[in-house]
Symmetry: C2
Subunit: 103 residues, 2 copies
C-alpha cells in the first residue's frame, strides 16, 4: 500500500477523482459524498475502498458514520514517482530539441 502505482489506477476513474477532490476540500462521510454524486451509496463505498487501498485516503469512525479524508502521504508517493522521471526526461528532451534545430 502507498504504492504510487496503485494511485494511478485509483485516480484514473472519473467518479473516484471526483470523490478525491471533494475530500481534498474537507473530510466527508460516505453518505455526504453519495448525496452530491450521481451514483449510489454502495458505489461510493466501493470507490473509497480502492482509494484507501491506494493510500490516498484514510477513514475513522464517528458514531455510526465513517469520515474519510485525504492522506497526503499517498499523494506524496505519487509525486515521488513522477519526480524520478521528470529530471531525466527534461534533460533528454531539451537535448533532442537542440539537435532538431540543426536542420
Amino acid at each position: 500500500m502507498t504504492n504510487a502505482t496503485d494511485g494511478f489506477a485509483a485516480l484514473a476513474d472519473d467518479t473516484r477523482r471526483d470523490i478525491f477532490e471533494r475530500l481534498a476540500k474537507r473530510p466527508l462521510s460516505v453518505g455526504e459524498l453519495a448525496e452530491k454524486l450521481p451514483v449510489s451509496r454502495p458505489a461510493v463505498s466501493q470507490h473509497l475502498k480502492i482509494l484507501k487501498a491506494a493510500g490516498l485516503v484514510v477513514d475513522h469512525a464517528e458514531g455510526t458514520r465513517r469520515v474519510y479524508r485525504v492522506d497526503p502521504r499517498g499523494v506524496e508517493a505519487m509525486r515521488g514517482y513522477l519526480d524520478r522521471f521528470w529530471d531525466r526526461a527534461l534533460a533528454a528532451f531539451k537535448e533532442a530539441v537542440e539537435e532538431e534545430k540543426d536542420s
Copy 2:
C-alpha cells in the same frame, strides 16, 4: 491533451507504465519496445497512441521507424495536479492528528 487527468488513466495500465519507464531511460522505436515486452507490436502501438494523447510522450519519424520519447511537460502537468491537493491535504491532516491526541 496534456490534461493531467488523462495521464492517470494512461499510467494506470501495467504495460503502459512499463513502456513509459523504458522511454524515460532512453528514446526507443515501436519495434524495440515490442521486443522487450510480452505483448505484440500492434498492442504497443495502441498503448503509445494513448500515452501520446495524454501528452506523456512525443514521436518523430526516423526513416521508416518512429522513435518515441517522454514529454516532460506531460509529467509536469500531472505533478501540478497533485500539488494543488498536497498543501491543503497536508495541513488538514496534521490538524486532525493534533485533535486526535486530545483523547
